[in-house]
């Protein structure tokens, strides 16, 4: 087998934890190397994923058709009511618009669409080309907003102006314009906003239910099953709980600065982190001991139900090896712990958008021999999966065929998942997902298992 080389321009983004490895100085938070076949998308993607689940807002993509077409109903973010977010709207710019500008078409599109769908707000996403032809989308949005009397918010997400992370920021900027525009009447003291939770397969509902069982009021979830009116009054909450810290910690920081709302970073994946997410909130509201009591009761009940169900799965999976390649590095922490619960070892941990602290943390958590990688690509991922003899890859749709081609199990932990993986019930689902893929008899036919 030919030994695959890492590209010169990427060597500093790949690190293998060994006894005598050089000092840890992984390069990250940089644009992708040209020609490297990165798994990342663009700035627009970052904004689109954060705002996507706001279900009663109109999401209009200003640009040629591709950006809207490829993000139509792309995520498993579900709504308990309106489903405007599952439709795709584009100004579908043509050559003539590129020459003469797309402002008029955008304006007309907005007025017509708002009339047709009566949304609570509209998000207007700039794509690459808008950054070049110089459409003043702020002015168009302002005009449309005045006329329609709903917030029409520009999202400056031109694809080439940075990385996916810059898209997160643009989305948070847009949300911040809505926060604080509603009445906070009736919001109690023990209240939170759930940030960075996108209600994939109904996960936000699971989490919200836990907090409500603890006697905590959830003012808004951003943006899973999101509603504009909830976001408007979210500044009335006492605490922000931020999951997927990469995408929405910026909003939490802005809300802290402007409204003095503190925030906590949490994760809902795995028994350990899920429990901590509940206990941390209880700790924050420690002047009310009943909250901690309720949290203890909840965790004990849930873990008591869950644990026996994991035993058989754990027995089957013990000692199997997993590779993790996810969007945000924070999720990788939880996954390492969750995999440990199943008795599995992690041989590769990587992400598209992690920062130095994230990777340092990952390095600390991982065993010797583990590879840590930033902004990877199919060649590197497959190289390490094979070299480290992984039995499982955790990633998204783009990583799935890499695993399957090589005869390796796969768990989709990305935006398109249809099964909730958050919360205690999510841990059980996760265990089942991993079990079903790793233990499937079909791998006996895979070439690397001697099948061909």
């Amino acid at each position: 087998m030919e030994k695959l080389e890492i590209l010169e321009g990427r060597k500093k983004q790949v690190y293998e934890k060994t006894k005598d490895a050089a000092t840890f100085d992984i390069k990250c938070e940089t644009t992708s190397l040209s020609g490297s076949v990165s798994q990342r998308a663009c700035v627009f993607c970052g904004s689109r994923v954060v705002l996507y689940p706001v279900a009663d807002a109109l999401h209009v993509v200003h640009g040629p058709i591709g950006c809207a077409a490829y993000t139509w109903d792309i995520r498993g973010a579900v709504s308990s009511g309106p489903e405007l977010h599952r439709l795709s709207f584009s100004t579908d710019l043509q050559e003539i618009d590129v020459i003469y500008g797309g402002e008029k078409k955008l304006y007309k599109s907005l007025i017509e669409l708002i009339d047709q769908y009566q949304p609570k707000a509209a998000f207007i996403y700039s794509t690459c080309i808008i950054g070049l032809i110089g459409d003043d989308i702020d002015a168009v949005c302002k005009k449309a907003s005045e006329e329609t009397e709903i917030p029409v918010l520009p999202v400056h997400s031109e694809g080439f102006k940075g990385t996916k992370k810059d898209g997160y920021k643009a989305a948070c900027d847009a949300l911040m314009k809505i926060v604080g525009t509603g009445s906070t009447d009736g919001i109690g003291k023990y209240s939170i906003n759930i940030l960075g939770e996108f209600n994939l397969a109904g996960e936000a509902w699971i989490i919200k239910d836990y907090y409500e069982q603890m006697g905590i009021e959830v003012v808004s979830t951003m943006t899973g099953d999101g509603r504009i009116d909830d976001i408007r009054r979210s500044h009335g909450a006492s605490l922000n709980i931020v999951q997927c810290s990469g995408s929405m910690v910026k909003l939490a920081k802005m809300m802290e600065e402007k409204y003095g709302i503190p925030y906590l970073r949490v994760s809902y994946f795995g028994i350990e982190d899920m429990s901590k997410a509940l206990y941390d909130v209880a700790e924050h509201f420690k002047d009310n001991p009943s909250i901690l009591d309720a949290a203890k009761k909840l965790v004990s009940r849930e873990v008591g139900e869950l644990y026996p169900q994991l035993l058989d799965i754990r027995q089957a999976l013990a000692g199997k090896k997993a590779a993790i390649y996810v969007g945000g590095a924070f999720k990788a922490f939880s996954l390492i712990k969750a995999l440990a619960t199943l008795g599995m070892d992690v041989v590769l941990a990587g992400s598209q958008t992690g920062n130095k602290d994230d990777y340092t943390g990952l390095k600390e958590m991982c065993d010797e021999g583990t590879v840590i990688v930033d902004d990877s690509n199919p060649v590197e991922l497959s190289k390490f999966i094979l070299e480290k003899e992984a039995d499982l890859l955790i990633g998204g749709v783009k990583e799935r065929p890499i695993a399957y081609k090589l005869g390796v199990g796969f768990c989709d932990h990305n935006h398109e998942r249809k099964i909730p993986l958050a919360g205690f019930v999510g841990m059980l689902n996760f265990a089942k997902e991993v079990y079903q893929s790793v233990m499937s008899p079909v791998w006996q036919f895979a070439p690397r298992k001697g099948g061909l």
Binding site: M1, E2, L4, E5, L7, G9, S32, S34, G35, S36, V37, S38, A41, C42, V43, F44, C45, G63, P64, I65, G66, C67, A69, Y70, W72, R86, L87, F89, S90, T91, L93, Q94, E95, V98, K108, S109, E112, L113, Q116, C128, I129, L132, I133, F160, P378, V379, K383, L386, V397, K398, P401, I402, Y404, K405, L406, G407, A446, P447, R448, L452
Partner: protein, 450 residues
Amino acid sequence: MKTAKAATQNACKLCNPLGACLAFKGIEKCVPFLHGSQGCATYIRRYLISHFKEPVDIASSNFNEDTAVFGGSHNLKLGLTNITKQYKPEIIGIATTCLSETIGDDVDMILREYDSESSADNPMPIMIHASTPSYQGSHIDGFHAAMKATVEQLSEGGTRQNLVNMFPNMVSPADLRYLKEILESFHIPAVMLPDYSETLDGGPWKEYHRIPKGGTPLESVRKSGTAAASIEFSSVLDSGKSAAASLEDRFGVPRYRLGLPIGIRQSDEFYALLEKLSERPMPARYEDERRRLVDAYADGHKYIFGKKAIVYGEEDLVIAMTFFLKEIGIIPVLCASGGKSGHLKKRLAELVPDLENSGMKVQDGVDFVDIETEAKELKPDLLIGNSKGFTMSRKNNIPMIRIGFPIHDRFGGQRQHHLGYRGTQELFDRIVNTVIDYRQGSSPVGYTYM
């Protein structure tokens, strides 16, 4: 409530570069390369992967703000160097995007500059460049543009050979395999352009295949200028955009244009053409396939006669399907496409002489909201087209038959046949079964025999 007109809602098309990437996947040892933002390559990969269930590696020149201001030359060259190092391609298929087209990068010049650094020690892959700005046309235009660029840049003339160029249009890997089988049965050596029958529907790997095996070999592409004929499945493609027309102009290779061979009549034309080109009678196995198909038409006709269908997708697919539906007694009440070649209505009128009076509507440049609006009036029994019609199908409780690309919500889209007698048989069975399934499901009695 008025339906908004200025915006496109739930598009019934994709962007130009997607088609080019798909077509370049059908050239042997070729890597598709998008000159634009990282997102374009990634979104297109994801979209193709969800259909083909195969790795689809597409490189990107990864524009940043500096690139947009100072031009894409540096990033393009760096990207070419990196992809060459890591993938060792024989060919790189470069397609542009809205971004690189709008800043006005002279890609041909950049590639010439880059290629001039090539030497015996440092050989460079062949670079094909297709211009595919996303603000023009749709994915099907990119598909044809990539094939035209390929033959224009690689084909050579020479002594006429016993060889036929096959331009199959954007069909499934299974269709491509079937076409190759047919051509082989007629003893016709053929150059299939593109041929992603293996690259996008192949077996398992022991190690990662940076470029999956399969695809049209470079040597075959070169020879296409010496072929005795080109067969092109398209009735809407303008000569100026056609690879076959280009070969006819440059090397005098006769261009035979047919619609996609779907249904008995349209397939007959294709097999007849092969009889003519090969000077051989149709092999017995296709006679058998045809006879079984005619027999199936008889067995199934009553389930479907008079049913109303909306058919949507690429214009060529819609035209061929319309003709097939008419042949089996289904009324295509709306023939719709997100594409806009300007020829859809005219071609359909040629194929269906009583178009005006037959209760058939034809619409190009439409989106799924337009189609749904029509569906409310037309009350079709069936929707026939790609997976993206599911939103409309579910909302209006109209059964759907998934054909073409993309099939994102069912398994095995890449293995579906559409073409020839075999493909028609599959389509016919599926249509009949969809009607039966719907009747069975909505019957108060339920029945276990048909």
